[in-house]
């Protein structure tokens, strides 16, 4: 079976690729937004901790 044959969904192309496409898109969005979220949290918490340490050292 060739790749073309295996992936030819005929008159159902819209339904099949619409399903697989949206699944892929959703997972991609979740992974990208999680990375972004994690970076933001790291920066924020890092800043808070560094400020707290500085204040402790000065006191």
């Amino acid at each position: 079976m060739s790749i073309g044959e295996a992936l030819d969904m005929g008159k159902y192309s819209f339904y099949v690729w619409g399903s697989y496409g949206v699944l892929a898109l959703c997972l991609l969005i979740e992974v990208i937004s999680l990375r972004h979220q994690r970076r933001t949290i790291k920066q924020r918490v890092g800043r808070i901790v560094r400020v707290a340490t500085r204040q402790e050292n000065e006191a």
């Binding site: 969904m9 008159k11 699944l23 918490v45």
Partner: protein, 248 residues
């Protein structure tokens, strides 16, 4: 044999680095199983169904996403119950970390179902028991997330969300058995013990994709829970130490 103290890992300080170490493993497992599963779905399983043509290929993601949406909810409810019984901080964080991915899979089960229903049933949607109860599951996830973000105090949020998760879990068996209890357009369960309902290659494809999504969910939920831990424990000495060592 040394006795493992499992409660040790319910403390965020020891759970955090452990979770960080296992995330890449789960992510790789998910990717590999996903590729193999899709290969089986498109190259090993039959090209078309004799009634549904190629549209039946949607089964390889519809059934896994629907299973995951129910399974994640049950796991979420178990974490909520554990949180209430043992009063561990981590339990609610785990439940909270699972909710968005569960909501995503509930949405995808409905979406792929609509795109499969149109060519096979002639309609995107019917208000029957299976579809409606799955829609309710989606709303339960959304309700859980909304409730959690509406309550400022983390302890009260945990309690309220835990209750919602526990009460809502009654919906899961309703979804599962709905196709047997009520007349519906939807076909009966795809998998039955002691009974062949589909070809081996189809079954293998569906199971591989399911395990792939399972490992994906674990990886994503662990990343989310680590973010939550860092945020909540930012005033503790262990987080300060991690930051100074650059190991956050």
């Amino acid at each position: 044999m040394a006795k493992i103290n499992w409660f040790k890992y319910s403390s965020p300080a020891s759970f955090y680095p452990l979770a960080g170490k296992v995330v890449p493993w789960f992510a790789w497992l998910a990717a590999i199983l996903g590729v193999v599963g899709l290969y089986v779905a498109f190259f090993e399983a039959p090209l078309k169904d004799y009634q549904q043509g190629q549209s039946y290929k949607i089964i390889f993601i519809h059934v896994p996403t629907a299973w995951m949406s129910m399974f994640i909810y049950v796991v979420m409810a178990l974490w909520a119950a554990a949180g209430m019984v043992f009063n561990t901080r981590l339990s609610y964080m785990m439940a909270k970390a699972l909710a968005p991915t569960g909501a995503l899979f509930a949405f995808l089960a409905l979406w792929t179902g609509a795109l499969w229903g149109k060519p096979t049933w002639g309609t995107w949607w019917v208000w029957d028991a299976r579809l409606t109860s799955e829609l309710i599951l989606f709303f339960l996830y959304i309700g859980f997330i909304a409730l959690g973000s509406a309550i400022e105090d983390p302890r009260r949020a945990a309690r309220a969300c835990g209750l919602l998760a526990l009460v809502g879990v009654v919906n899961v068996p309703i979804i599962y058995f709905s196709v047997l209890w009520w007349s519906t357009l939807h076909q009966p369960p795809s998998l039955k013990l002691n009974e062949a309902t589909m070809g081996t290659s189809m079954l293998v494809g569906i199971l591989l994709v399911t395990f792939s999504l399972w490992f994906y969910t674990i990886a994503v939920a662990l990343v989310r829970v680590r973010g939550e831990i860092l945020e909540r424990e930012r005033d503790t000495s262990w987080v300060a130490q991690l930051i100074h060592e650059g190991k956050e």
